[in-house]
């Protein structure tokens, strides 16, 4: 396959940045999208140019490092995959592909396609945990039976990889899907009940402080989420938040 790439290049956080065109030839449809970028970078380095910076690590869709806004969609045109799992067979010979960073006020660009997503970490610091010490002096694991339906739902919420596709896809740059996934995981489990009130208030508060936008229920986040995190979680968080606000 021969392709034209239009890639966002930005030297650092202060640079204005611009789209730069690249031609790339002989791409195998079996390559992953990031392997295609590896080929481009290898050519750039050999020519003496600067390679394109992008985040990536596990390359199997679980670490949440990779991002990229490809042809106007977070993680590209395929569904339920991250960019590292996107394969070139999803494109056609001769295609032009736009590649941009995840854009949001709370995700400033570090370089080219690399953005700073530590805002997500700070939301987790505010309450994304159960306050139990790791001393090992806890009760036996099977002394807390959990209804399978709830255990499975908690698991589904917990599979969020923290990539930020929800924020990048949302016209308001809202982080509701991300935050609600963690709130839901613990809201569905008996272990999470003790701190439920503080958790949701603190996490939502931190989310607002980081500059994420509001949720207007367009549902773009759910569509683009590589892990299929459900909007149901946002509803659950709203309920938790309302209850907590009345209590608090």
């Amino acid at each position: 396959m021969n392709l034209t790439l239009k890639i966002w290049r930005q030297k650092d956080a202060n640079d204005k940045g611009k789209i730069v065109d690249y031609k790339i030839n002989d791409i195998s449809p079996d390559m992953s999208f990031l392997e295609m970028l590896d080929v481009l970078n290898s050519e750039l380095i050999t020519k003496g140019d600067e390679p394109v910076a992008f985040d990536h690590d596990c390359r199997e869709g679980i670490c949440g490092s990779c991002s990229l806004y490809i042809n106007g969609e977070a993680h590209g045109p395929d569904r339920l995959v991250t960019t590292c799992q996107l394969h070139m067979r999803k494109f056609k010979d001769g295609d032009t592909i736009f590649i941009e960073p995840f854009r949001a006020k709370a995700f400033p660009v570090i370089k080219d396609l690399v953005v700073d997503r530590t805002a997500f970490d700070r939301v987790q610091h505010a309450g994304g945990f159960i306050s139990v010490n790791t001393s090992g002096n806890t009760q036996d694991a099977n002394s807390i039976p959990i209804e399978k339906v709830n255990a499975d739902k908690a698991f589904d919420a917990a599979t969020c990889i923290g990539c930020g596709a929800c924020v990048a896809s949302c016209k308001n740059s809202s982080a509701m899907l991300f935050v609600s996934a963690k709130v839901s995981q613990f809201a569905l489990l008996p272990q999470g009940q003790v701190e439920a009130t503080d958790r949701v208030l603190n996490m939502v508060n931190q989310m607002d402080e980081e500059g994420f936008g509001n949720c207007t229920n367009t549902g773009a986040c759910e569509v683009e989420c590589p892990k299929g995190i459900s909007l149901e979680n946002i509803a659950r968080m709203n309920r938790e938040f309302l209850t907590a606000s009345l209590k608090g």
Binding site: E50, A53, C58, T118, D121, A126, I130, G136, T138, A151
Partner: protein, 665 residues
């Protein structure tokens, strides 16, 4: 220096309890005066950071990723072992200990393995308390599955994402401490040296990967939880960034490196598809609970399959060779990883590989889909003879158990594994070797500790499935927090460690000069060019089977490649910016040294054990042949070039387990 493993006296089952009772403690007020650096935030590093901070120490944690949640423990799939005996199938601490020592081919330290088995049950309790959503049955209790090399069901799991859920548990425990200010987190930082002052590890030199700034950080002790070095093979199931740099720099400062040649080649990975490939993807061992491994019995069918004139599902039962079930009737498809990998290689080398490159075997779920489908039809009072219905019901069960793995497979290979068998082949996955540590997890540098995959301690020559997560969390939650206190109890009056000393200055200077060399080298080839060539040497000559001639060639070739790298590598950009090529160059430079030591270690070990298979040492049936005279840990001391490394031996004694031929027949 003579190796002292510091194994406590007394009967095996009392060693850990007695040891904990006798070691020194640090009182809570004094803990506030003590700083600990932890490098790496995977299961071992992350759990250690959280626990030490809870205890009251001031923790500084470092990771090269943009968040601690992205450490590669996140990608572990199948599960975590624990001797809970919830299934009532005869499991016990002793049995987990026995399975692990036998699984490691009698090359691990008895006392460490017993302690691991002893604390394993507590890990599950701890994780459940933290809100880790393990799989449960309809009664609300925890479910288990089986893994290779054992005869009980002791593996706890969260679908195919157990590593993710456990790491997010440790990450949440860290977050609580970061929020309290007890952990100071340094994301996007890479450790480039250990600083040793008066013989003790007192800090690190780290590079800020965003600004390029080289920084000094001091502490009273340093803990490395930096994972394994599988990426020395270029292609592995490790993350792209996984590297040996922290461990190797520690080695160069005096930490002995143990058993570098013990590498786990995992039997079920998606086969290599072409030269463009940047990494390999694991298909969890848990799939062998339900998948049957086979190749065609006859060469003519192999040819037809490769020419695509025959589909695997069309091949009759009697024309299939379920070679693991044939060779190992007692364990069948659930033999340990080293055994399964070699068996796949044997069939493929004999010409029975089922893809174009001849390096793939089938992992088939048709039988499981039938079995589960019929069971569901029975439960739901539906027609068990309706083939389409049974298949549909069976596929739903399989999807529920392994859905994410099947989806990953389909996205990569573009084939539907519910309809046609998966194609798999062995790939580098885990390294049992690592930094040598004593019973306290301390390296040969006082004050420097190694936890998780970064150390060598518990898995001998082969690790059993679902034991890596167990060891990482055992080390971080339950072992290190005790043992490090014993060491730190001598530091309560030391006060803060200054970074304005000649040792820090010298280490920083060394790091800077290496960076400058790489940046100003002006060679012609990108870093990956060298890394791929190193990987090829490693895979062809230090891979699943090794021999004297090729190991000697590998040593020469790696040494020559290293010289070429330093002469001809091209690193674009500058040192004072986000520069991934520069970070990569430093890592590959270290792999080029480690690779040579790896080959040397494999050459010296004139036996076959676990993942280390020497062509010259095999039984008439082609199984690994251990030799009594090699019942020791190889601990290498750095002396300049890898070829000059000096071997120290820690003899292994087995007082509680009979050393016999490891058989899974």
């Amino acid at each position: 220096m003579a190796l002292d493993s510091k194994i406590p006296q007394g009967p095996l089952k009392d060693k850990w309890t007695n040891h904990k009772n006798k070691i020194n403690l640090v009182n809570p007020a004094n803990k506030r005066l003590i700083d600990v650096i932890i490098v790496g935030t995977g299961l071992a590093g992350g759990s250690a950071a959280a626990t030490l901070a809870e205890l009251g120490y001031n923790v500084k944690a470092f990771c090269f990723q943009d968040s601690p949640r992205r450490a590669h423990s996140i990608a572990a799939q199948g599960g975590i072992n624990a001797a809970k005996n919830y299934q009532g199938d005869g499991d016990s601490t002793y049995r987990l200990f026995y399975d692990t020592v036998k699984g490691g081919d009698y090359r691990s330290r008895e006392s460490n393995v017993y302690r691991l088995a002893e604390v394993s049950a507590n890990i599950i309790d701890q994780c459940v308390a933290q809100g880790v959503p393990f799989a449960r049955d309809y009664g609300g209790l925890l479910d288990n599955r089986s893994f290779g090399g054992v005869l009980v069901s002791r593996t706890f799991y969260a679908k195919g994402q157990t590593g993710q859920q456990l790491l997010l548990g440790a990450y949440s425990a860290m977050n609580r401490q970061i929020g309290r200010g007890k952990i100071k987190m340094y994301n996007r930082h890479e450790m480039l040296d250990v600083v040793v002052v008066d013989g003790k590890a007192r800090g690190i030199i780290a590079r800020n990967l965003v600004t390029g700034e080289v920084e000094r950080h001091s502490a009273h002790a340093v803990v490395l939880g930096t994972g394994g070095y599988g990426n020395v093979f270029f292609l592995s199931t490790n993350a792209m960034g996984s590297n040996v740099t922290a461990a190797w720099k520690a080695h160069k400062r005096g930490a002995y490196f143990a058993n570098p040649c013990y590498t786990q080649i995992h039997p079920t990975c998606i086969p290599v598809s072409g030269d463009h490939q940047s990494k390999l993807t694991l298909m969890s061992e848990s799939l062998r609970n339900d998948g049957r491994i086979w190749v065609p019995k006859h060469k003519k069918d192999v040819d037809a399959i490769r020419n695509k004139t025959l589909k695997p599902i069309q091949l009759k039962e009697e024309d299939r060779d379920y070679y693991l079930e044939r060779r190992y009737p007692a364990f069948g498809n659930l033999v340990p990883r080293d055994v399964a990998s070699r068996a796949a290689k044997e069939r493929c080398d004999a010409g029975f590989g089922v893809n174009a490159t001849g390096e793939a075997v089938y992992l088939d779920f048709a039988a499981a889909i039938q079995r589960y489908g019929k069971e569901q039809a029975q439960i739901k009072h539906l027609d068990q003879n309706d083939a389409a219905l049974v298949k549909q019901l069976g596929q739903a069960v399989v999807k529920n158990k392994y859905g994410n793995l099947f989806q990953m497979y389909e996205k990569i290979v573009d084939e539907n594994p519910y309809e046609t068998p998966m194609m798999i082949y062995p790939a580098v996955h885990y390294t049992m070797g690592g930094i040598w540590v004593d019973y306290n997890l301390q390296t040969t540098i006082p004050g420097l500790y190694a936890v998780g995959e970064a150390n060598f301690s518990d898995h001998g020559a082969n690790r059993l499935g679902a034991s890596a997560l167990m060891q990482g969390l055992a080390d971080g939650y339950f072992v290190l927090p005790y043992t490090i206190g014993d060491y730190l109890s001598h530091d309560i009056r030391t006060g803060p460690i200054s970074t304005e000393t000649k040792e820090f200055e010298a280490a920083e200077k060394k790091v800077n000069s290496e960076i400058e060399h790489l940046i100003n080298n002006n060679g012609t080839k990108p870093v990956d060019y060298f890394h791929k060539r190193l990987g090829k040497i490693m895979w062809n000559k230090c891979g699943m089977a090794r021999n004297e001639k090729e190991l000697k060639e590998a040593i020469e070739e790696i040494s020559a490649l290293r010289a070429e790298f330093w002469k001809d590598v091209r690193v674009p950009g500058t040192a004072n910016e986000f520069n991934e090529e520069l970070a990569k160059a430093g890592r590959v430079a270290d792999f080029l040294e480690l690779g040579e030591l790896f080959a040397k270690d494999a050459l010296v070990r004139e036996e076959s054990a676990g993942g280390h298979f020497r062509d010259e040492y095999q039984t008439p049936e082609g199984e690994a042949m251990r030799r009594k005279e090699f019942q020791f840990v190889s601990a290498w001391e750095y002396k300049g070039e890898p070829k000059d490394a000096v071997l120290h031996k820690e003899e292994l004694t087995y007082e509680n387990i009979e050393v016999k031929e490891r058989s899974y027949k």
